[in-house]
Symmetry: C2
Subunit: 417 residues, 2 copies
Amino acid sequence: MTTFGQVAAAIDERRLWDRHEALARVGATERGGVNRQALSDEEIAAKRVLIGWAGALGLEASTDAIGNLFLRLPGYDPALTPVMTGSHIDSQPTGGKYDGVYGVLAGLEAVEAMRAAGYQPRRAIDIVAWTNEEGSRFAPGMMGSEAFAGVRALETILPVADAAGIRVEAELARLDAAFPDMARRPVGFPVAAYVEAHIEQGPELEAAGHQVGVVTGIQGKKTWKVSVRGEEAHAGTTPRRRRRDALAAAAAMIAALHRAIVDADDVVRFTVGRIQVEPNAPSVVPARADFSIDLRHPDGPTLEGFGAAVESICQANAGPCTVTVTPLVDAAPLTFPSAMQDATRQTAERLGLAPMALASAAGHDARNLHMVCPSAMIFVPCAGGISHNEVEATLPGDLAAGARVLAELLVQLADRA
Amino acid sequence: MTTFGQVAAAIDERRLWDRHEALARVGATERGGVNRQALSDEEIAAKRVLIGWAGALGLEASTDAIGNLFLRLPGYDPALTPVMTGSHIDSQPTGGKYDGVYGVLAGLEAVEAMRAAGYQPRRAIDIVAWTNEEGSRFAPGMMGSEAFAGVRALETILPVADAAGIRVEAELARLDAAFPDMARRPVGFPVAAYVEAHIEQGPELEAAGHQVGVVTGIQGKKTWKVSVRGEEAHAGTTPRRRRRDALAAAAAMIAALHRAIVDADDVVRFTVGRIQVEPNAPSVVPARADFSIDLRHPDGPTLEGFGAAVESICQANAGPCTVTVTPLVDAAPLTFPSAMQDATRQTAERLGLAPMALASAAGHDARNLHMVCPSAMIFVPCAGGISHNEVEATLPGDLAAGARVLAELLVQLADRA
């Protein structure tokens, strides 16, 4: 047992900051960012560091068939389901030091503080690092939490290949080989509640001067893969009337989509982030162009309306090429349970912080846990709202403030009968 | 000495065809094409095959500091400058069996026929395989003939790197190591005349039913590299007004260029064949997009007019990004000397072929040799006009017809005092 504030008082701002710096050295890029993509050697090395810290705390490490990593602080009533907290440690190819990592390290710091305060929870607390949240190497992302929550079947995830043709299944085998003695758990087990701490990845908290945000929900997201097929031809000889130029068609589609998917209040988020062209040679008319579409909006009907236009805009701009538009992700907007939002806000207020309520513009693993247990998210500010970028930055005091809210919220959730 | 037609009669259609098949096995692709890019292991292996055939004929192999391969049939008057024929054996990444290769193998077959007919030329005949005509691995192409003709300084070619960062200089050292005993020649030496045989890579000969074309000249060509710079940002959180999306800008540029660079008679050739995006991840707003432009036209002023619009169209579509447009190739249209065209046409007519006069839409090494000696080109048909494609096809009889014209033309040029 503990009184409110004891665990929060044991949060060590310096340790939390130093651990971010230490993990950022695993996969560090020249420009101060991180390249630690899902199931890479760098991610394995980062897991080894995490497991080392957890081992020193006496936490039990375990994994499952999709490579999620669990670090458990046992509860004194083993008949009760655990409370879970965490996020992910994979990054974008040119990612920052905090996206995902903060949620895992804030969970670890909360447990460090519990230990320091002499607190043992009634329910076990699992700190989790979900597999492939980012989706940059293996698309789409959130594979670990989707499999855990039963949103997506494991069998459909294992064959997914990266750009080099390497399959998730093969990389999972490599991960298992790196940790041969780790305990195994089933993919998905009962959880009492889930709380995820994360940097905001947007500008609102910083602009409003709040250290902590209570997330009301997550905007909806739809993604597609667009495949344009034309015909290879010699750039010097083939007349325009005989060309089927896949990149010309793709460029017309992308330009038309950018013109069409706009709104006056600047709420819709439309991105074509990846394009791959074959043979991609300067003097050959391109035969193939594949590109990604990422569309998000917090309002369900508005998201559906924009989404419904995507295929017709692509078809209208295909010219002499053929185009197939394949939906990948279709996640409706969600609202976290009000009881979880209230508990988070009240915890922050009792700690003397002034929490701000805001929606998450980015997707998070909490989207999937929301399907299986009461879930909540805590945001901390992120400089300039810049994320998915090597210059991603936060303040040590803000990270610690979020960890204090997380720690006290976990105490309340873990002590429930 | 020989009488007209004796050497042509010794051309062996089957041997010429079989050698195309044999070379096509070096770098063969699954779909029946060839991937034998400049200075690759595959090109080295193909050179080894060529040198083997040449050695059996008693030809002397030599090279120069840019890796051009020369196979010499000695003349009986060594004081005279040589006559040269050839083309290139590098290919596009998904190229065909005949582009370039035909010019080298037709030259070899002509010399085979000379030997079989008991003919020794007055002037030496050099069969050449020029380095990196295609420019798909190291851009721009025609490095070997440009260096030979003094169009481009060797020092500006050696540092050029491929997409993996490998420099021409390093690959040339590897080439030299593969043929340590080969004789060396200077980069550029006096040549009396140059004749290049090539597949048309366009549809005209086939459509008009001619086996042989006399090339009147080569259309002009301009190429650019366009570099668009924006800023990386999170696709889910960053509002449109704060985005600097390099791919959105590049797509707008490419679409606008395709709309602007058109003509009623369908003579202009405009191609964006390559695009490279960073970080090229589905949920990251792209920070960088580089693309290639290839523009060709047989009329100088028209080419200049279209070319002058390129930069302003890119700038007008840059939106919040910055763009730099860097010229790479600027080759004016050219006309081969009428005496060389006449000699080629008359040789074909005397052999009973009905030659067709036509311009070359594609660039060739003969563009550069034209700067240093009287030059000519012989075209043979190419099925459907399709080239730079794995399905590239020709007929054995057409290849042999072109080789007969080449052989008799070389005899005339080599016997001149």
